[in-house]
């Protein structure tokens, strides 16, 4: 097993650098914990302003509900009309809630004021969610008011959330973080590995050894697989133990999918390494690909939202399938029957990446 010595050499090279060790094993824990808290934060404390121009008691009662709600943070209150647009521009509030008495006489006899919500629509997602929260408050008020008079709305919806009954974001985002991390670490570790040998002119030494090209290739890839798997275990432990995300599926398929994914991503990284001339270039390519992989994987925003010609790019993104599989295993406890298509697609991508990268590697070696 000559291969063993090359793997050992690569590992020694990694272990020699304290900074690299830190980046590989300590920073993942920090990243997952921070990432977990950030991505799991549901929209809360939306900063709002309350402007009450109504003499109606209802306005005050609804305002009180807004003040007490943890979903909103009241930044200012006023009883006078103001330049609302400028307040939104300043960014002091994401929404301004204005209560007014209706202008025409006939309606002002009614018991309710008019409510207007002026929203900063830039973050459309937060705006929609905040509007939903406010609708909820209004609806709650109306229901209580009707109930006091012995009435109710004719039809009430009773929502039931499957797979994640409390709608905890971390249950959805947390498992994905593991895939995210696996990608970052292995990609950067491997994409520079051959370039460095080129730059330091140690490649010739490696070529003169009696290792064949496949062995050199494996020697470069296997240490990263090992490190990736260790990071994966660390990540899973943090996600399950620290964040308490229920694990419902099969550990075997989780690791199988991860191994296939590692084959794909590592051969991609080695391809970068073969094709770039300097460390700088390889890092740049790695960075560029990483951002595309990440943002088109469905980790942050749904893949279904990607328009058609670009969807093809998402369809060949290996991270997309890994995240899909991890989520199905974690959240739904789905078995192979549900995600065999994703696993197959992932394997297909891995196979083609491995062959392309191996071919290029052989050509590069024989030069």
């Amino acid at each position: 097993m000559k291969l063993r010595y090359l793997v050992k050499k690569e590992l020694i090279e990694v272990m020699r650098q304290k900074e690299l060790l830190f980046l590989m094993f300590v920073s993942p824990v920090i990243q997952i914990v921070i990432l977990g808290y950030v991505v799991s934060t549901d929209i809360r404390h939306v900063p709002v302003g309350l402007v009450n121009l109504s003499r109606n008691q209802v306005a005050e009662r609804v305002s009180e509900r807004v003040r007490r709600s943890p979903l909103f943070a009241v930044r200012f209150e006023s009883r006078r009309s103001a330049d609302y647009l400028d307040l939104l521009k300043q960014g002091r509030a994401k929404a301004i809630i204005v209560f007014r008495d209706p202008l025409d006489r006939k309606r002002s006899a009614a018991t309710y004021p008019e409510v207007q919500v002026l929203m900063d629509g830039i973050d459309s997602n937060t705006a929609m969610v905040a509007a939903g929260y406010f609708n909820g408050i209004i609806k709650g008020y109306i229901l209580d008011d009707l109930a006091r008079r012995g009435r109710g709305l004719p039809v009430a919806g009773r929502p039931l959330f499957r797979f994640n009954p409390q709608l905890r974001s971390i249950n959805y985002m947390g498992p994905g973080i593991v895939g995210f991390l696996l990608t970052i670490i292995t990609m950067f570790l491997t994409s520079a590995s051959l370039v460095r040998e080129k730059e330091q002119q140690t490649m010739d030494t490696l070529l003169m050894s009696r290792l064949n090209s496949l062995e050199i290739y494996l020697g470069k890839a296997l240490p990263a697989v090992l490190i990736g798997l260790i990071d994966m275990v660390i990540g899973l432990l943090v996600v399950i133990l620290w964040f308490g995300i229920p694990f419902r599926g099969s550990l075997f398929f989780l690791f199988l999918a991860s191994l296939v994914y590692l084959a794909a991503i590592l051969s991609y990284a080695l391809l970068i390494s073969v094709l770039s001339a300097t460390t700088q270039q390889s890092m740049f390519f790695a960075w560029f690909s990483l951002i595309l992989f990440l943002l088109m994987s469905g980790f942050f925003t749904p893949v279904a939202n990607i328009p058609q010609p670009l969807r093809l790019l998402a369809d060949i993104n290996p991270l997309r399938y890994l995240i899909q599989i991890i989520r199905e295993i974690f959240l739904k406890g789905n078995g192979i029957a549900h995600f065999w298509k994703d696993l197959l697609a992932l394997a297909g991508i891995a196979a083609s990446l491995v062959s392309v990268s191996l071919l290029n590697f052989k050509r590069f070696i024989s030069r």
Partner: protein
């Protein structure tokens, strides 16, 4: 001043000597904005749902009609009645997002003037989508209710609610993400550009020459930063123009204000890169650190994707140390809201403080290494 100029000229030569890297610095951000501008989106315009109508009366059919007419819900299995367990299985496989169940007594109860319930089974795995689906269905039910009460002779819903979206009336998430992407990419490019400038000299051994030069450490650091300001600023301008003319992101404020802040922001990014470069032993570590330090925090803790108001106090405190936090607010404010200079004195001041702090730290670190080398 003449001495700093020497360093500036030298760095410029470094940049021009490597046209391949320079083109990459200009092309990749454009490609990224192009792809991501289309791909990163929250807009939910299709919800696959099934309706199981056990009541089969006039009112229940009316409700199904109004769900179908909503435009967002795409209903499956309407003709033949879908058994609930089949629908649940489709929910598990991801073919459905929601199941609406209308109970058998629905029409009878409503006709008798009693209240009825509608069951909504929603796939909760993607919380964001689940929330939106619930909101859509709530709105449909609210309108259905209003119609019912109106038909019963009572006035419609008592409290009139009118919601207006400013700056982004169609609620396009591109308005949110594209200026954000500009900010994040500019920071990463700036930090990447300078992250190699000192570690490269260290690896090639020319750092010793810099150490024994008569220049003061501060002069060396500043001299190494200045040339990249021009590169990064040009880069930023190209990205901004692309966003303006390709994606039609409006520029409602003053370009001059934006440029002034962009300059500050770029200097902050470059200083960060220089600091990393000084601290890192090799180019590889320098780039890795630059990427990890700029990428994750500016993605996650700056308000690029996740609103800062919802974060826990500790993480909010961290966000104050990240340059992207301030520039994101500025660029979204100027570009989309047409905000003016006076709205951003705090953000501007914080960017200045960050620049000064980072430059000072880099100078100190460099000075110490220099002393140790002598």
């Amino acid at each position: 001043m003449g001495r700093i100029k020497a360093i500036i000229v030298k760095e410029f030569l470094h940049i021009l000597r490597d046209p391949r890297s320079l083109t990459m610095v200009f092309i990749t951000p454009l490609v990224m904005i192009f792809i991501l501008g289309y791909s990163v989106s929250y807009d939910l315009d299709r919800v696959d749902a099934a309706v199981i109508d056990h009541s089969q009366g006039r009112l229940s059919r009316q409700l199904v009609q109004s769900i179908a007419a909503n435009g967002v819900f795409v209903l499956h299995g309407r003709g033949a009645s879908l058994p609930l367990d089949r629908a649940e299985e489709m929910l598990r496989a991801g073919a459905l997002r929601a199941i609406v169940v209308i109970p058998p007594g629905f029409d009878r109860r409503l006709a008798a003037g009693a209240a009825a319930e509608v069951g909504l089974v929603i796939d909760g795995s993607d919380v964001n989508v689940a929330n939106l689906v619930q909101q859509y269905s709530e709105r449909i039910l609210l309108e259905f209710n209003a119609g019912l009460t109106a038909a019963r002779g009572a006035t419609g819903l008592p409290l009139r609610l009118d919601t207006k979206m400013y700056f982004n009336p169609e609620a396009r998430s591109q308005f949110f993400f594209i200026p954000g992407l500009i900010a994040v990419i500019m920071l990463m490019i700036s930090a990447l550009l300078t992250s190699l400038s000192i570690s490269r000299e260290r690896e090639s051994g020319s750092l010793a020459l810099l150490f024994i030069s008569p220049l003061r450490s501060g002069e060396i650091i500043v001299g190494k930063t200045v040339p990249y300001i021009i590169v990064a600023l040009l880069d930023g301008a190209v990205i901004l123009l692309f966003a303006r003319f390709w994606f039609g992101i409006p520029l409602r404020g003053s370009l001059l204000v934006l440029l002034a802040f962009a300059l500050l922001y770029i200097v902050a990014g470059l200083s960060l890169g220089i600091l990393i470069s000084t601290a890192a032993p090799t180019q590889r570590t320098a780039m890795l650190a630059a990427l990890l330090i700029t990428m994750l925090p500016s993605f996650l803790l700056s308000g690029f994707i996740f609103p800062l108001d919802s974060l826990s106090p500790v993480l909010r405190a961290v966000s104050y140390a990240i340059p992207a936090t301030y520039f994101l607010r500025i660029i979204r404010g100027v570009v989309l809201k047409g905000a003016a200079l006076r709205h951003f004195w705090f953000e501007g001041a914080m960017l200045l403080v960050l620049c000064a702090g980072l430059l000072a730290a880099a100078t100190r670190k460099f000075g110490r290494q220099r002393k140790a080398a002598q």
